[in-house]
Symmetry: C2
Subunit: 513 residues, 2 copies
């Protein structure tokens, strides 16, 4: 009846407050998203469960490929021109393009489809790749429930457990639902869209730079990258994040005898590598939890006035978080979390030597292993940070090797540490006052009904420096997962409220003026 | 032709050097053992493989019972009056008695048939309970070979790999072979024999005292206990051992947050229990490897003049051992092994926190665990020694709990350590100059052709205090296993030469004057 959509929108903005009362294309998109998720929420949740059921640990080539094929199929079904980028043995990148007549801006939408390695024995909720719905969080006494039937109403406190339900498959069905919601309402995105699904993020994005160099012309079309990853703020408020910490890892192996020894026959005589490792680690931090490795903090660029101001506006949630995590105290005499994230960190992510628990035997272990990760901030070069740790290990009297020591090396050195460096990348940051970022903040405000928190840098790490440095484009992180999603650990989960809010947010972003 | 065996023996001792030239019953028994093992060595080895194929970890009730039934069957086949002692849910004791007309002495023969827990993933040679023969030690490039056919000649450097091939199933087929060898030669043991096979030694012999109290009259018939367990000296020379260290264990769990945390989002703020544990362990020993826990050495009774003299006669094998084990240095600035075994030891037998290696994820672990064992010497009470460790943990600022902390405990204490104490027992020692011990030393000398090493105390632990204190009987350890048998660890093995020497030794002991 009425062919002029803009006219209709303006008309309705003046006269109505009902479901059709959309004042702007963005408001229309938001209304469409809400209507869509109320009718099809159960199907969106089922789609996340289907996707999370495909194992996605880097190196599992067959299943990684199944994930990529699933994504290509979903994009094609929505008339997005999609392709699979491959490079040697690396996990493929799924690339999609959707051009919108008249659009003057090209939005890049990044998600990663790979997940952290899993330790199935540690999962209490379900097997890592058998997603299972609970009526609330396990810690709150959640019980498993059946998946809802199509059309059913979702309880926002339900949680879907399974690897990558939070990090980082959650945005995928939410984004597809936002596209579907717009299409169902006869709306189009207001920007050209480029989809980039990476398959090696949890392994350190080792090939993303190569992919970028190989597909530079297509990538250069993008004006602004939205990184759909990470959790919302611990207060459950939405946030936009303008930077990330870098990350790098290493593993230290300390050697005792060539074989495990009977602790009775050799105890007090043969060196114990578990003790040696404990002593070594203990030298790395002081009683106030400061890293005392020489030069560790030297390259750190302290936050500037703009970042300090943004930080000062963030809610302080430390006490609530402390209680929720069962901690009586935190590091550095209770310094604020937001402050602590501005420093590089040294984290022992794992220890092992022989066995503990029921399988413990009375042996002097042959080796003891500590796996460490370092989170990096602006100014920290990954390799140079590892250099400071390695120099510290040498200063403690260890001979450092790259492979297991041979007999001659063992004969020559009393203390031997193998240090294996792992790939990493530096921190990255986008200036918070760029004009192109204003509609993003407005879209998030419209979707949530309140302004999002604006965070200069996330504590976590993403290969954002490839976007900000290599592609030289502004980049903002748009997270939807709950902060208590156990990402990187056992019993990873997504809270249903966060999935639903993600649909609204993505619809608003697709329709931003 | 000649009915007087003694006369014949004396005659042959004067006139002959051939295979029948046995000067004494003991020499006849030794000749019989050598002839038997040359003809039946392959069958003895096969019998050890059969026995080692029965899983024997305490708590695996069905298989433990299969071991006990196997032993009862073997004793019965040799006309030893055998019975199964049971006590509640404990692993049964197999008891056997063989009275010899005219014997004036009753020998007790102790072996344990249970083994240490296994970590199948750590075994390179074979599955722990699928014994496999190698042409030499794995470390020397050994390759698997088929079991020899009956009657085949054995290579003394072959090794049979499998849990308990060394500790402590090896003496069982050797003892049975010694009985068979005597019987085949028409000889009788010179002592009444009592066989005692325990099934809970590796679990700390928690019920052996109760068994002793329940069967006291039978046990009181024994004049001298021979403990068939442990390895020979590191120089591969036979040894007799007159004491053992005690042992006790504990496990320390240090707590972080209630769940593993993303190291990016929480690193530098949430306490890391792996670091806390490393710091705690590092406070327990000084740079000279002395335990600096208050009171740790206070109860230790130093060795007396007789023990010092015996120790001074022992060969010093430290340098060879150091080289064999790939160690450039040893603890306490190279103090002698024999000296170090006279002190109580504090050993970290296992460490764990989250994951290392390929499964490491970037998390702050929720807990970190150290499993420790203490070896005890004369004077050390197990519980009091654990008290010193626990008091030390408290002095480092930890609130000590017995079970996982609840929310109120977590809220009240910044540092929490769960300490779980494990059962243990004290050290024991028999005076080396008792007359009843002289024929034992003579038998070992006859079997090996040279005097054995006489060791005041083994570094390892056995429940010997139950024999020396509860039963109040002299007790000597008669080991046959190779020192490099990887006991208590992966790839446990028995060297064939040690099995064969064991047959000779046991035959000489069964026939001692």
């Amino acid at each position: 009846m009425c062919r002029n959509r803009l006219f209709l929108a303006l008309l309705l903005a003046c006269c109505g407050t009902g479901p059709l009362a959309a004042a702007t294309p963005q408001q229309a998109a938001l209304d469409a998203a809400r209507a869509f998720r109320e009718r099809h929420g159960a199907e969106v949740l089922a789609q996340l469960a289907d996707l999370a059921a495909i194992p996605n640990v880097d190196g599992d080539r067959e299943n990684i490929r199944r994930n990529a094929d699933w994504l290509v199929g979903q994009l094609a079904a929505r008339k997005v021109q999609s392709s699979l980028w491959t490079l040697g043995d690396s996990s493929p990148v799924v690339w999609g393009r959707l051009d919108v007549p008249g659009a003057t801006r090209t939005l890049g939408l990044y998600v990663h489809y790979d997940g952290q390695p899993v330790d199935p024995a540690a999962w209490k909720s379900t097997a890592p790749f058998s997603p299972r719905l609970y009526d609330r969080a396990l810690e709150a006494g959640g019980k498993p429930i059946p998946m809802p039937a199509p059309g059913a109403t979702l309880d926002p406190e339900w949680r879907l457990y399974g690897r990558s339900t939070g990090d980082d498959k959650a945005p995928i069905p939410a984004l597809l639902a936002a596209l579907d919601a717009l299409a169902a309402a006869g709306l189009s995105p207001t920007s050209n869209l480029r989809f980039l699904f990476e398959g090696e993020e949890e392994a350190g994005s080792t090939h993303l730079g190569d992919y970028f160099r190989a597909h530079r012309p297509e990538l250069d079309e993008v004006d602004l990258w939205l990184i759909l990853d990470g959790p919302v703020h611990q207060s459950r408020k939405p946030q936009l994040v303008f930077g990330v910490r870098g990350v790098v890892g290493l593993e230290i192996t300390v050697y005792g005898a060539t074989r495990p020894l009977h602790s009775g026959h050799y105890g007090n005589w043969a060196p114990n590598p578990a003790f040696e490792l404990a002593r070594l680690l203990a030298t790395m931090k002081d009683a106030e939890d400061q890293v005392v490795i020489e030069g560790f903090y030297d390259s750190t660029v302290p936050p500037g006035p703009a970042e300090r101001a943004a930080l000062a506006r963030l809610p302080v949630y430390d006490e609530e978080l402390r209680r929720e995590l069962g901690l009586a105290t935190t590091e550095a005499a209770g310094a604020l979390l937001a402050e602590r994230l501005l420093l590089p960190s040294l984290n022992v992510r794992g220890l092992s030597a022989a066995q503990t628990g029921q399988r413990a035997a009375n042996v002097i272990p042959a080796v003891a292993v500590a796996s460490l990760d370092l989170r990096l901030v602006k100014g920290n070069d990954p390799e140079k940070m590892l250099d400071t740790v390695e120099a510290h290990v040498r200063r403690q009297g260890f001979h450092v090797v790259r492979t297991d020591p041979d007999a001659a090396t063992r004969a020559a050195h009393g203390r031997i540490a193998k240090i294996v460096r792992q790939p990493g990348y530096p921190a990255a940051r986008t200036a918070m006052d760029l004009p192109i970022l204003a509609p993003v903040v407005a879209a998030a405000t419209a979707a949530a009904g309140a302004p999002p928190l604006l965070v200069p840098s996330l504590g976590g790490s993403l290969p954002l420096y490839l976007f900000t440095e290599l592609l030289a484009k502004p980049t903002v992180i748009v997270p939807i997962a709950n902060h208590d999603d156990n990402q990187h650990a056992a019993d990873e989960n997504l809270r249903v409220a966060n999935l639903l809010a993600g649909i609204d947010l993505f619809a608003a972003l697709l329709a931003m003026p």
